[in-house]
């Protein structure tokens, strides 16, 4: 019976010493986690999460005091990413902290602004230009839409303007494809593709991919002869013509993310 006790004590002692030594060897300082959480937050510094800014909220999450779904500007994606990072189950945004709103920018109605600089002090990102007794205005590109300047303004001259959709920031929509039941004429399409397949089988003609120099590419009928019969004609002068600035589209900053 005693030997059992000795063995267990000996074992515990040996392991304890080993762990003690390794605890010294592998001292870990600082906690990079806060920085990584802060990177996910949208930095609107709006305080809707109950903390005076995004960094305090990040430290609160890191310490485990705050939950991951208190940030409406971060929206659903933000909550999901935080859940992934912290390894906890994703919880939908809880509504007491407000609802995700479309991006809006503050706008000062200049004929009612009295130049009292209260909003300048309130703005977390110094996006308001102006001085005491001088006209104030908001730098739209810098404003994060945190709405902190609305309250202090004595004359309520600041309104939130949603960012309009222009051809530059227009986004392609998710292709919502209705998989409805096959429309009647659709079955005709299947029918004649079966006939087409049968004819191809009999004629032995295979309209498939030919070997060619670069990989891929598709072989298709040109329909060129439609418009090459007549020569180029000059069009008469129209009654009105509107020339416009040219859209070159988005030139992606080339990120070489070599996998």
């Amino acid at each position: 019976m005693l030997t059992a006790l000795y063995i267990m004590l000996g074992l515990a002692l040996v392991l304890g010493i080993m762990l003690g030594i390794s605890a010294l060897l592998f001292k870990v300082e600082g906690d990079p986690l806060v920085a990584r959480i802060d990177a996910i937050l949208p930095q609107t510094q709006c305080g809707q999460c109950g903390y005076p800014g995004c960094k305090p909220y990040a430290t609160a999450i890191a310490k485990g005091e705050a939950d991951i779904n208190h940030c409406p500007p971060g929206g659903d994606a933000g909550a999901r990413e935080l859940a992934d990072l912290m390894g906890v189950e994703y919880k939908p945004l809880n509504a007491e902290h407000g609802l995700p709103k479309p991006k809006a920018v503050a706008f000062i109605d200049e004929n009612t602004c009295i130049g009292c600089t209260l909003c300048i002090q309130a703005c977390p990102v110094d996006a308001i230009l102006g001085a005491a007794k001088h006209m104030h205005t908001i730098i739209a590109s810098e404003c994060t839409g945190c709405e902190l300047c609305l309250a202090p303004c004595p004359v309520d001259c600041i309104t939130m303007e949603p960012v309009a959709e222009t051809p530059d920031n227009w986004k392609w929509k998710y292709p919502v494809i209705p998989i409805k039941a096959m429309p009647a004429d659709k079955s005709r399409l299947i029918m004649n593709s079966i006939i087409q397949f049968a004819s191809k089988l009999l004629l032995g003609q295979t309209a498939d991919l030919l070997i060619h120099k670069f990989h891929g590419g598709v072989h298709r009928r040109g329909h060129k002869q439609l418009s090459t019969t007549l020569p180029i004609a000059k069009l008469a002068i129209p009654q009105a013509c509107s020339a416009l600035r040219q859209h070159v589209g988005y030139i992606p900053k080339v990120k070489s993310t070599s996998r």
């Binding site: 030997t3 059992a4 063995i7 267990m8 392991l15 762990l19 986690l33 990072l85 390894g87």
Partner: protein, 197 residues
């Protein structure tokens, strides 16, 4: 005892393929289900478990052979094995936190959970019961570790692909993972009888 390579290879195949720790012996399911949501986390977990497993099976063989059996304290086996494994896991956690903080963060609670992983305790116990020699228990431990890691990584890559599958709402998440795991163990049944030569 002549070093009979054939015999050891049979043990290795036996533990990796024929009676795989996770899919055939159904041991160590909790990290298998928990960590496999993300591939990086699963690779990290597989590495950590393999490390703990191999060291654990070696040390536990040592203790069992030199301390427990001569003094007839066979009943102490489980207790001592658990203490060793807990020590090794704590050690790995410290190493992990120092050198791979993101991985440590990704694994989160599952790293200390290795101690409670039934595969990690199961293999030394199996070694002790079938009184393997040192080499045999080493190969058995290694086989178990490799088997566990391989299956965990395969399962994780499959689950990442299932993320976007149009699974009926009621089966989304771990339900479909369970079904996939059962089909995997069905596939591993094919290896039955592979190591009887």
């Amino acid at each position: 005892m002549t070093f009979d390579l054939h015999h050891y290879i049979m043990i290795l195949i036996g533990t990796v393929l024929v009676n795989n720790i996770v899919l055939v012996k159904i041991l160590g399911l909790c990290p298998f289900m928990g960590v496999s949501k993300k591939l990086e986390a699963s690779i990290g977990m597989a590495g950590a478990t393999a490390f703990v497993l191999s060291i654990g099976s070696m040390t536990s063989w040592g203790i069992n052979h030199y301390l427990l059996e001569p003094n007839g304290l066979v009943y102490l086996r489980t207790l001592s094995f658990i203490v060793i494994i807990a020590g090794v896991v704590q050690f790995t956690e410290m190493v992990m936190e120092k050198n791979f903080p993101p991985l440590h963060q990704a694994l989160g609670i599952f790293l200390p959970l290795i101690t409670t992983n039934c595969a990690v305790l199961g293999i030394p116990l199996l070694n002790a019961q079938s009184s393997h020699s040192f080499l045999e228990s080493l190969f058995f431990g290694m086989g178990g570790a490799v088997g566990f890691s391989m299956v965990l990584i395969l399962f994780a890559s499959m689950r990442e692909r299932l993320e976007a599958a149009d699974v009926p709402a009621v089966f989304k998440g771990s339900a479909i993972a369970m079904v996939t795991a059962s089909l995997m163990s069905l596939a591993f049944m094919g290896f039955a009888g592979l190591d009887k030569y």
